[in-house]
């Protein structure tokens, strides 16, 4: 939690002024009884009505000043807390964006979402309350103790015992309940996860008539959440009663000691009353405090969860970005522009897991079309994912323009590459806005050109508002094939040096797929193209086809060569063209 407080630094002024004005208000509150006392002692004893009215006006004035102080304090506290939460949300979002693919895979989206929303909200209310009230309460508690000492040192020793005991109770309960509240939030992640799952998988769940089962599962999750909440609640429910008993125990002791001291002639009756009043002042503050502590405890637990995300180091390390290496890369780029080279590359997703790719070694020249084909789970996507450095290799290296991808700044690297993923994803906005992702400054003509190449021109033209047609979140209002073609167009707008099509035409019919490949081939400029596909027909004319089998290269060459020499390729090919060749797989 502590580390998060740096985000308050822009609100130093507010975080100081807020509590300060609050203390000012509290001080006025403490003075009022004195005014009353003098009203009784001076005004009434002398029967001076004018004095009484004057004192009443003074009290009203104090009330007014208190009001102004308090409003100011509330304003500063709210500004600091809201500003803090806004900064925090910004930083957290920015940080999560820097996480690498494998980190995202292992964290899971749901928990990141709860942390960015629910957790930050809790922290915000916590900070707001702390700024407003946490200084005030100790101020009054210790103030009362000091006042007690000025009355009678021996009797005040009771305060010296009571206050530490109270602190132990308050902090003890906090210590026990913080981990519990953390668990509560983790359970909440579970509830969020299953809700999300049910929204995305609604068709499958209904197809299997599994609504009831899912409801049972959800009930299970909320039960677990409830039990955790109850447990945490039971602990914090102790706070109020325990502090009450300690304070009043102190009060009883105070009266007893007071009576003894009065009998000994050391204290006066009035002084005992003063001591008793100080003790009840502490009680009033603590009752307030106890309620706050619950909120603060939650805030700390949530803060720690947020911190947990910040502690994940931001994604891939960008190393070797010194000037010299930059110069080198420029030199290298001149000699080998557009080349992609895999130098004995191996990849493993999880430590101790199986290798996803083993010893991949090849070099693609500028303008080449490289086909990647292979069985399900053979590592096709893994291979192309290494080019934009979505994952880091375990052994060997991937070089673009003769320079290791790890030597590039990530943005520079990814600017060169257009990737179209298996799952076509579009974002809320217009078609135009989605296409501009590729290149902010693309002209109208360039957009249409990309659409034409991606075989998307026709259906965009049919849309009422053409490029300005609305795309809903995740492209819900478009068909699978339309989404795929738009996501291809989006990558083309980038005019990348290297284009990667990761099985991105699966929702297209054969005719459209063929037309797409043809127009990509005819694109101006020499783009190096990687096509991952299940369809041998999509790759027939690739300059090189890489055949993968279980993460290993089973064959590499042109279609003709592979058909001669590579058994895996033969099997794949004949499985699709059995009729023509008259051979079954």
């Amino acid at each position: 939690m502590g580390k998060l407080l740096v985000y308050l630094k822009d609100y130093k002024k507010e975080s100081v002024l807020g509590p300060l004005f609050k203390l000012l208000e509290a001080s006025f509150e403490l003075i009022v009884p004195l005014v009353v006392a003098s009203m009784i002692d001076v005004g009434m004893t002398n029967g001076d009505k004018g004095y009484i009215i004057k004192m009443c006006l003074v009290m009203t004035a104090f009330g007014l000043i208190g009001l102004i102080c308090s409003v100011t304090a509330q304003y500063f506290a709210a500004r600091a807390a809201v500003g803090f939460a806004t900064r925090l949300r910004h930083e957290l979002f920015a940080h999560v964006q820097k996480l690498s693919f494998s980190q995202m895979d292992s964290e899971g989206t749901s928990t990141l979402i709860t942390r960015m929303t629910s957790d930050i909200n809790q922290v915000q209310s916590g900070v707001n309350l702390v700024l407003r009230l946490f200084l005030r309460s100790p101020f009054i508690v210790f103030g009362a103790m000091i006042m007690a000492f000025t009355v009678d040192v021996k009797a005040a020793l009771i305060f010296v015992v009571v206050i530490p005991v109270l602190s132990i109770i308050v902090f003890g309960i906090m210590l026990v309940s913080i981990p519990l509240f953390k668990k509560v939030q983790a359970r909440l992640d579970g509830v969020l996860g299953i809700t999300r799952e049910n929204l995305t998988g609604v068709r499958v769940i209904r197809a299997f008539g599994e609504e009831e089962g899912e409801i049972r599962k959800f009930d299970g999750e909320t039960d677990a959440l409830k039990h955790m909440q109850m447990l945490a609640g039971r602990i914090s429910a102790l706070m109020n009663p325990l502090t009450y008993i300690v304070i009043n125990g102190g009060l009883i002791a105070l009266i007893y000691v007071g009576a003894v001291r009065v009998e000994a002639g050391i204290l006066s009756q009035g002084q005992v009353v003063a001591l008793v009043n100080y003790m009840s002042q502490i009680l009033v503050e603590l009752v307030k405090l106890a309620n706050l502590i619950i909120t603060v405890t939650k805030a700390v637990a949530c803060g720690n969860r947020i911190e947990g995300i910040f502690e994940i180091p931001a994604g891939l390390k960008e190393t070797g970005l010194t000037d010299t290496s930059k110069n080198q890369s420029v030199d290298g780029a001149k000699q080998e522009k557009g080349t992609v080279e895999f130098d004995h590359v191996s990849l493993r997703y999880h430590e101790g897991g199986e290798e996803a790719l083993t010893d991949i070694h090849f070099k693609a020249q500028r303008g080449d079309t490289i086909g990647v084909i292979g069985g399900t789970g053979s590592g096709k996507s893994s291979l192309v994912n290494l080019i934009p450095r979505f994952y880091d290799v375990e052994k060997g290296s991937v070089k673009i323009d003769g320079v290791d991808v790890r030597e590039y700044p990530l943005t520079g690297l990814r600017d060169k590459i257009g990737v179209v993923m298996q799952k076509a994803v579009l974002f809320e906005g217009t078609i135009r806005e989605n296409l501009l992702w590729g290149n902010e400054n693309a002209s109208e003509d360039e957009l249409w050109e990309a659409l034409r190449t991606a075989q998307a021109e026709e259906f965009v033209l049919q849309k009422e508002k053409k490029l300005d047609e609305k795309v809903e979140q995740e492209g819900r209002n478009l068909s699978g094939g339309q989404k795929q073609r738009l996501s291809i167009a989006r990558a083309l707008v980038k005019k990348p040096e290297i284009l990667i099509l990761d099985d991105s035409a699966s929702a297209l019919d054969y005719a459209t797929d063929a037309a797409l490949r043809k127009s990509i081939k005819e694109m101006p400029g020499e783009t190096t193209v990687f096509i991952v596909s299940q369809r041998a027909s999509s790759l027939l004319h690739a300059d090189t086809i890489i055949v993968l089998d279980d993460g290993n290269v089973a064959g590499m060459g042109t279609h003709e060569e592979l058909l001669q020499s590579c058994q895996v390729y033969q099997e794949i090919y004949y499985s699709q063209f059995e009729k023509k060749e008259g051979v079954g797989a």
């Binding site: 009353v36 009784i40 009434m44 029967g47 009290m59 104090f62 009001l67 308090s70 304003y75 807390a81 999560v96 964006q97 895979d105 899971g108 979402i113 929303t117 629910s118 209310s125 407003r132 509830v191 996860g193 299953i194 999300r196 799952e197 995305t200 609604v202 769940i205 197809a207 299997f208 008539g209 599994e210 409801i215 009450y244 009043n248 009266i255 009576a259 009065v262 009353v273 009840s280 997703y349 199986e354 069985g375 399900t376 789970g377 996507s381 979505f390 990814r414 993923m421 259906f459 979140q473 995740e474 929702a507 019919d509 005719a511 063929a514 299940q534 027909s537 027939l540 499985s575 797989a585």
Partner: protein
């Protein structure tokens, strides 16, 4: 007018919340009882303290007293003992109250969450397809949470507050009626101020809640698709968009929080006016001998005690406001119209033969954009129907209609002679085995994901199904085999592996009819051919609908429907359609065309 509307909405929400509280009547009574006990005891304690102090006065100045000092000491001890008992009882009452409140609140929010989730399961797909998932999630999670917080703090403080006010009022009346009247007349001003601010801030809180929902939706979209964002180097732009919403949220949160927090200082100011008023009238009463100084002191302290809960209550009102705004959003979801429930006389399909009839069906997602018009089709039991056509021609829509994910606009669809509107959804849908192009896996083990349609499957059955779908070999190689836990949406499994698991599901449950929508699009062709064989066995005697781009996979279909723009333009088997040299023939030849 607008304010009135909001006010009524707030009231409606409150009434709904009360309905949720109703079942917890016993705990509610108990908690109120405990509140009364603890407050009365708390108010009684100062009287005991006063008594004790009086005895000390005698100790201080024994000359005024005729009795022995020892007797006074005994009396003092008696009072102290009484105080100890009162404190102990108060603590018990407080504790029981806290526990009851926890119980009530957490049960209520669980209730609400369960209702909301049930509603999600019952909502028509029309609603779910059209609403941002992130926003729905935010309602079920964040809004309910905020509501719980408000409710809990509200309960704990509202009761004690109200009871304290009533209790103090009683004690004050017993001392002096006139001055009590002053207190009672001025204090409502603070309630008025509080409710005025509350009314004004309700809409601010609602705006805050809405903006939060918008932000959650963005987070859901962007973080959920982070890979695409990163591959386009769009982190900066996305962050800009996020910051725009974040900035708006900051503004409206600040307004909501600041203005609602004005309640406390304002009511406190009113209280200090009350205090002064008591002081003034009291002082004059003392001068005219109507009141003793001691009574005035007591009165001042009670006046203070009387007004304090008003402060707390107004603080609580802020919380409750926020809670109500959140509750309103949740209720909106819960009250969203569910799909028309199955009729009482709905038929449960049994021993499905697989005769499907589509009669004069018209359908469109958007009223003014016609999609399917006057579609007619008769499928005999056991027939294989393939649907082909260019993307966006309505293939998937037919599946949506067959499964009754959407209801037809006109015409009817029947299974075994029963109109599907008169069949229970459950039995209709489980009669179909469906594999979609968009794979969906849930968090859990591979096993859990396979047995979705048949939870009581034995190990032999599962392995047999997995072998038939050729998923067995890759599952075996996973670290824990069938017990391997996969993350959200399949985690690091490849697209093809996910699809194999989805096929295994259907292979296991073996329903009487099949729908395969691009079921093997992500699977390599070698495996596909093997799966096709398994499919072929499975399709034997089962009515099947197949959507595919790879025409090789549908050549053996009994009927091929060629669709374009929502119409069936050609119909027949492979040979017939090729001979026609129409759209199908063109499509078929294009896959062998040299690009």
């Amino acid at each position: 007018m607008k304010g009135d509307k909001k006010n009524t909405k707030q009231k409606e929400t409150l009434i709904k919340v009360l309905k949720y509280i109703k079942p917890h009547g016993f705990l509610m009574t108990l908690t109120i009882l405990m509140a009364v006990v603890s407050v009365v005891l708390t108010l009684y304690l100062p009287i005991l303290t006063g008594d004790a102090v009086d005895r000390i006065a005698y100790i201080f100045d024994p000359s005024e007293l005729s009795v022995d000092l020892g007797v006074i000491w005994v009396g003092l001890f008696g009072i102290l003992k009484k105080m100890a008992v009162v404190v102990a009882l108060t603590v018990m009452a407080q504790w029981i109250m806290n526990i009851c409140n926890n119980q009530i609140v957490y049960n209520i929010i669980q209730d609400i969450r369960k209702k909301a989730f049930r509603r999600i399961e019952e909502l028509p797909l029309k609603y779910l397809d059209a609403h941002a998932h992130g926003d729905i999630v935010s309602r079920v999670v964040a809004d309910v949470d905020q509501f719980a917080d408000g409710l809990l703090i509200g309960f704990t403080q509202l009761f004690t507050g109200v009871v304290t006010i009533l209790g103090t009022l009683g004690f004050m009346l017993s001392v002096n009626v006139g001055i009590t009247a002053v207190v009672v007349i001025i204090t409502p001003v603070s309630l008025f101020v509080a409710s005025f601010i509350a009314k004004k801030t309700f809409s601010m809180f609602q705006l805050q809640s809405e903006t939060r929902g918008e932000q959650t939706a963005l987070i859901n979209e962007m973080i959920g698709n982070q890979k695409v964002v990163q591959s386009f180097n769009r982190e900066g732009k996305t962050l800009e968009k996020f910051d725009e919403i974040n900035g708006r949220l900051e503004k409206c949160s600040l307004r909501a929080i600041f203005f609602s927090s004005l309640t406390n200082p304002c009511t406190r100011f009113v209280n200090s006016v009350v205090y002064t008023g008591v002081g003034l009238t009291g002082a004059f009463a003392v001068l005219s001998r109507g009141l003793s100084v001691g009574q005035l002191t007591c009165f001042l302290s009670y006046a203070n005690q009387y007004t304090k809960p008003f402060n707390e209550i107004s603080g609580v009102i802020t919380e409750l406001q926020n809670a109500l705004a959140c509750a309103a959003r949740i209720f909106e979801l819960i009250e969203e119209e569910a799909q028309v429930p199955d009729g009482a006389d709905a038929v449960t399909l049994k021993d499905v033969k697989g005769e499907v009839g589509i009669k004069d069906v018209s359908f469109s997602y958007v009223p003014d954009k016609k999609l399917i018009e006057n579609l007619n089709l008769n499928v005999n039991p056991g027939q294989r129907i393939a649907i082909v056509g260019p993307t966006g021609c309505g293939k998937t829509t037919i599946i949506n209609l067959l499964m009754r994910f959407y209801d037809v606009d006109k015409g009817s669809i029947s299974v075994d002679g029963n109109e599907i509107k008169n069949i229970t959804r459950q039995s209709l849908r489980t009669s179909y085995g469906m594999v979609l192009q968009d794979t969906w896996l849930k968090r859990g083990t591979i096993w859990d994901n396979i047995v979705v349609g048949k939870p009581d499957a034995t190990k032999e059955e599962v392995t047999a199904a997995a072998k038939a779908s050729h998923a067995h070999s890759f599952i075996k190689r996973l670290p824990n085999g069938y017990d391997t836990v996969i993350g959200e949406d399949g985690g690091s499994l490849s697209g093809g592996q996910k699809q194999l698991l989805c096929i295994t599901r259907v292979m296991l449950s073996l329903p009487p009819m099949l729908i395969l929508d691009e079921a093997t699009s992500s699977i390599d062709t070698r495996t596909e051919i093997k799966i096709q064989k398994a499919f072929a066995t499975m399709m034997e005697g089962r009515t099947s609908f197949i959507v595919a781009h790879r025409l090789s996979t549908i050549q053996n279909a009994d009927v091929i429907l060629v669709m374009k723009d929502g119409h069936i333009i050609e119909q027949g088997n492979h040979q017939e359609l090729l001979a026609k040299k129409g759209f199908y023939a063109e499509l078929y030849n294009s896959q062998f065309a040299i690009a």
